[in-house]
Amino acid sequence: MSQSREARRAATILVSPAVLLLLALNIFPIIYAVYISLHHWSLSSPNPPRFAGLFNYQELWQYDDRFMNALGVSAVFIVLAVGIELLLGFALAFVFNAKLKGLETLRKLSLLPVMAMPLVVGLVWFYMLNENFGVTNWFLTLFGFERLPFLTDGTLAMLSIVIADIWQWTPFVTLVIFAALQSLPEYVFEAARMDGLTEREIFWRITLPLLRPAILVVCVIRAIDAFRMIELVFVMTKGGPGGNTEVLPWYIYTKGFLSLDLGYAAAMAVVMIVVVTVVAQVFVRKIAAPE
């Protein structure tokens, strides 16, 4: 079946604007970023950009402890935040999965954090975790604990950011797993029960395997989003204390737009794009492919 001329024209009109826009603002920037990264390109220097070869990349791998630290901090943040969100979200999905009066309303209310402006999320947690007047410390003292320096101690500062992230995204994980649970075919469970499987066996051998795709999806999406998180660090810690919360996006931002060393920031951006692209390609092709 060949398409008529008019159909082809219509298709071109419909498809090309979006594709052109994405070529200009998505593909070209990647190429351009590589180009910039091969230069000494500083906005604060009066000199024009000059070619530097692989200087910036070499600097990155050989000398820059802060870059290595940032990679590590990002990894820790992703593992902690996404790990806890998955565990909590998973458990809560089962809690909500019952036809009980009012439970549905509670579940809907729990979704409110998901769409809140990340900057405000950082702001309110920054306020609540304040060592001197924060309400978190008030709760701690209520239960007889000492006040904690949430934002100035290295380990606690990381934990603080993780908490804020968990607050925003656990409801999302719950929602996804819950939706997946609801869509499981009932007859499978009936058959399993008739076969005499215990509830525990049903969970491990039927429910969990059936939920696997949903868990994978949410895991990958959360991991990639956690990798790009910058607002919480921007508001709550600025990467401190002593670099303990300096995630990669924050380091790129400070190099690029506080020190204005665009060449160097571009080199890190290229590294980041490579990492994300590999994960995203695998994900889009394998997991999100339409059935």
């Binding site: 979006a18 351009y32 729990s110 900057l119 951006a269």
Partner: protein, 284 residues
């Protein structure tokens, strides 16, 4: 974790109370920070810094007045207006272009159509911080720094993947016969799209509009770098004070409340489509 079950009413009854308890605690945890934002925005300075925290206080509106007209120099109002402009225009563009490309790719055979689809989807993963360096220099080149247009273009491209993935499902569910009938009535392909298909996917368009609008409204990093003053949005204004909030928590939280409250309402409206919108439609 033996509390799960789909079908056994007995176990539901047995664990019902526990479910309510856990759910209630969780919801409390989710809502408490919103309460903090709102209550702090209504407190006077001495109540804000009080130890122990004051749960009962006399609410005042002064912080909102300060936030709108005074705080940070000239107040949040100009930024609020910029936010509204950028959000509205970029949403209309993203939904419009997104609907066009989804329809084009579902109804016509396009060269490398499958690849175009996956390419559009994968842009959802583009980390903004990595694109911000080249985008900044590109906008500088064409003189679009600190303009509404510059921000609008970037936000439109960022939201396209979201729009395409949601709307495609809606187009697929339109019975092809309806469109064929319209063709027989003498409609051109483009007329079928605008006069028949689009009206049928209105619910999908509304959903994606809200979702893209929220994304544009919330975006901080790109806005803070691409704009200095003329086109700066509300998050830029908010982020402009971090690290120096010393005493100004009242007006600061008032701005936070203005930024978050409209979104809360939309989230409740949206929640049915949230899963699909945020997971690439991989979970429905």
């Amino acid at each position: 974790m033996a509390t799960y079950s789909l079908t056994t009413p007995n176990s539901i009854r047995a664990t019902g109370a526990l479910r309510y308890l856990i759910a209630a605690i969780f919801v409390g945890f989710c809502l408490f920070p919103f309460y903090v934002v709102i209550s702090t925005s209504l407190k006077i300075e001495s109540d804000i810094f009080a130890w122990p925290p004051r749960w009962i206080f006399r609410p005042i509106w002064d912080n909102y007045e300060a936030a709108l007209f005074v705080f940070g120099g000239s107040g949040v109002l100009p930024f609020l207006i910029n936010s509204i402009i950028v959000t509205c225009v970029s949403t209309i563009l993203a939904v419009g272009l997104g609907a066009m490309v989804s329809y084009g790719l579902t109804r016509f055979r396009v060269f490398a159509g499958h690849h175009i689809f996956f390419f559009i989807l994968s842009t959802r993963f583009a980390p903004p911080v990595a694109f911000v360096v080249p985008l900044y220099l590109m906008l500088r080149q064409v003189g679009l720094l600190d303009t509404h247009i510059g921000l609008i273009l970037i936000y439109t491209s960022m939201n396209l993947s979201l729009v395409v993935w949601i709307i495609r499902g809606f187009f697929e569910s339109i019975p092809i016969e309806i469109e064929e009938a319209a063709r027989i009535d003498g409609y051109t392909h483009l007329q079928v799209f605008t006069k028949v298909a689009l009206p049928l996917v209105k619910p999908g368009m509304i959903t994606t509009s809200i979702l893209s609008a929220i994304m544009a409204w919330n975006e901080f990093l790109i806005a803070t770098i691409m704009t200095q003053s003329n086109a700066s949005t509300l998050p830029v204004y908010l982020g402009g004070f971090s690290g120096s909030m010393g005493l100004e928590w009242g007006p600061y939280m008032a701005v936070g409340a203005m930024a978050v409250l409209p979104i809360m309402i939309f989230t409740l409206v949206l929640q049915k489509h949230l899963v699909r919108g945020l997971t690439f439609g991989a979970v429905r």
